[in-house]
Symmetry: C2
Subunit: 478 residues, 2 copies
């Protein structure tokens, strides 16, 4: 697609220009509403049209990904004005590019016919990507319009769950037989009008469709024409399976610097390919959703979502934190008598809990990353455990000493300072033990250690920190 | 490189096998130390060698990226045993693949000669990537071994700071003249033994070296040989500049699905190219370091770093949090009298501060992401502000109601419940205002809003939450 459109990095300039034109358009709209004379109306409606025509021209020149960016950056009302101006034949590829939340907002304003028209032009793997957001009648209509082979592909693509190689796969590959010469291949290629995007290699298959090797396009160019494909192809290569985790495919692309990779079924038959652009999009979406999860958002939120939608997107995390805060509050409640006797405890207790939480999160960040990279074996787990305990004990002495001194300077009570220091050491060690144990345990239980580990560790260090500090204080001071 | 090595996704199996062999090796070492008889010694030393030989064979078969992975996953002592077994000619490419922290640990155990030998075999852009970690004598020796053209390239590559397009760039491109035919190009290519990795397009340059267009390799294959390059090349394309931000290059690759892109200087002269694998590595490193920063680690930490190194890597964050915790503690200190009179306040105050912190972080996550994508214009900033205030007011009423009820149920004091609810509403609105203002202000001041925004907001919501709750309680309850 890229070749057809003007490509320029200045998409932010385009966004600025779009906003300008929309403003002018809105100003004129306002005038039209105020001045109702028929003559005036005509003039204004002409000017008004002029802006939209210019806007449409601007949009036509943009790459689909850039139109998607502009749509995402506009509040809903303006977004829909722009969407109206997008030509029908480009709607499908733009819907593929926008974020899930924005796609929903656009699809909600399209009728069935428009949706079918937009979807029909796409490749089957792309239709499968849109499918979860489309009404089922639209899918059925699109399905009817496909050739039997394409229907088979769409059925296959729809059968792979998100997060698998199958969901990243496309069918846009060139396969050749191993018993021909390079010259035959070159002649075959010359008959094609253009080759699919990201064709860095051809797939060499045997009689039964089994994948025998890869023929890099670049090797094709430097090989003399009479050579047999079988002698020049690469017989060793990365094979992906449709049910494999997409994450594994992404690591393979990163490690081996691939542009495309073959997907084969259990019997070694070529079923599709994965390209680096699909992998990049996958990585971007993954890190994006990791970041949102870490920030406490359930899913991708439209920047201009309604207040009510946002509240719904954010409630789950707040509810979880409310529960952990209630628990911490009850832990403090246990020691109300001690606090009443020595009110300084109330002012000092958040320090212990806060620093332990931070230290625990440092540990958990290390461990979760190492787990994600598969770097932790039974042997190294023990070493890591010992290391984290060591780090937290040392940190406890250093920072515990500082906070102890702080407590002494403010309250002129050296026993209070000593209790602070002791509480810090114990509490940081608790954080270290939990920081290693929690993600390892979640991994063992088959859960993703990246999800919720941080909440859990903060809950533990909060309640634990309060308990240790107030408990020590009750024993030694009150 | 990829073609030379056996590629298999089962790198974790290899890691397991390496650990096994290392264990056997260590067991034998242990035996040798205990049993000193000369006969016994000979036998054991043979067995011992056998394991290392097998280990070396295993390593030889691995892709450099996989050897890097294995090195990263091993504790220092075992890592160095494995590193000893890596063949000298592969050391350079493996050093390129390992993480910064692990690279340091390996380089620290190599002498100057080894380092020069490892570095000399690399491309100039790769030497530039290693340069920051190499002793200056090594760089000088390597420099002397280069051709004048390569020296120029290395000098250029070293001159671009990290995070720029220049730092991602390589010089491994094929450029052709625009006044020849496709046939001439094909003949020229056939004379090359192999084409550089990721050559999806040739760069068409004019007499003065100015870049005139791109000729996709795939187009070359489907075009008849007598066509002139000038008529078949793409005259519109993405141009990167060496001083541009690497982030912008990454967005261009993601949006336009590129495999390679031209880098041109101010005069439009071709100076290098960026490939998708360099971009993927950059994206991985960026998200990795974002994740580490979010977790409170200053930089990439070797999983098996010493306790002392880890303490140093983590101290900055803990120190910052200590300061904010001290401030919060002093805010509570202001209200010690009120707490002494109504000790329930001590148990309830962390709830207000905690929930506000979470809500503020949700807001900031949204805003930082929108800023990173460049989606916030003056107009939309106002809309976002209004939306976040709305969300927090609604959340304040909902969750404030819940915590108010909680307070009432536990302490049977409806005024206390009402103060809790009021404090939650105010405190969540403070979090929303700060969640929008802090990142926007940091952006205005030319700082990265992703760095430190979260610490700042938590500091504000902690102290602010305590102040609002205890302040309201002092006015209305005590």
């Amino acid at each position: 697609m890229a070749e057809r459109d003007e490509i320029r990095p200045g998409v932010q300039d385009s966004l600025r220009r779009v906003t300008e034109l929309l403003h002018k358009h809105e100003l004129v709209e306002g005038l039209v509403h105020r001045q109702q004379g028929p003559r005036q109306e005509l003039v204004e409606s002409l000017v008004h049209k002029l802006h939209l025509v210019e806007l449409q021209k601007l949009l036509d020149r943009q790459h689909p990904a850039d139109v998607a960016y502009i749509l995402e950056s506009l509040p809903l009302e303006q977004r829909l004005i722009v969407w109206e101006l997008v030509r029908a034949e480009r709607e499908g590829e733009i819907l593929l590019e926008v974020s899930d939340a924005v796609r929903e907002s656009l699809i909600a304003h399209m009728d069935e016919q428009e949706l079918v028209a937009a979807t029909e032009r796409l490749d089957t793997d792309e239709i499968a990507d849109l499918a979860p957001d489309l009404p089922s009648e639209v899918i059925q209509d699109v399905f009817k319009s496909l050739s039997p082979e394409e229907r088979e592909q769409l059925r296959a693509a729809l059968s792979y769950p998100e997060g698998t190689v199958g969901a990243l796969m496309d069918f846009d590959m060139i396969s050749i037989r191993d018993d021909v010469t390079v010259e035959v291949v070159l002649r075959y290629l010359r008959r094609l009008e253009e080759m699919p995007d990201h064709t860095d290699q051809l797939f060499v298959v045997g009689h039964a469709g089994e994948l025998k090797g890869l023929l890099p396009v670049n090797r094709l160019l430097v090989t003399s024409p009479e050579t047999a494909v079988a002698t020049v192809m690469q017989p060793e290569f990365v094979k992906l399976h449709p049910h494999e985790k997409a994450q594994d495919a992404a690591s393979a692309f990163e490690r081996y610097d691939l542009v495309s990779a073959a997907v084969v079924d259990g019997g070694g038959k070529l079923v599709g390919r994965v390209t680096v652009n699909a992998v990049m999009d996958y990585i971007r979406e993954e890190t994006d959703s990791d970041m949102l999860t870490a920030g406490g958002l359930t899913e991708d939120e439209d920047l201009f979502a309604s207040v009510w939608r946002s509240v719904r997107n954010r409630w789950a995390w707040l509810a979880v934190n409310l529960v952990t805060a209630f628990i911490a509050s009850r832990v403090i409640g246990l020691f109300e008598e001690s606090i009443a006797k020595l009110v300084a405890l109330a002012a000092l207790m958040p320090i212990v809990a806060g620093i332990s939480g931070n230290s625990g999160n440092q540990t958990i960040t290390m461990i979760v990353r190492a787990l994600a990279l598969g770097q932790i074996t039974g042997d190294s787990a023990r070493k890591l455990f010992a290391k984290e305990i060591g780090v937290s004990a040392l940190n406890g002495l250093i920072w515990g000493g500082v906070v102890g001194l702080f407590a002494f300077l403010i309250y002129h009570n050296w026993q209070l300072g000593a209790v602070m220091t002791g509480a810090m050491v114990l509490s940081l060690m608790l954080a270290a033990v939990m920081g290693v144990t929690v993600p390892l345990a979640m991994q063992k239980l088959g859960r993703d250690p990246a999800l919720g580990s941080s909440v859990l560790i903060t809950a533990i260090t909060d309640s634990g920190g309060f308990f240790i500090f107030l408990g020590l204080a009750t024993v030694f001071l009150v």
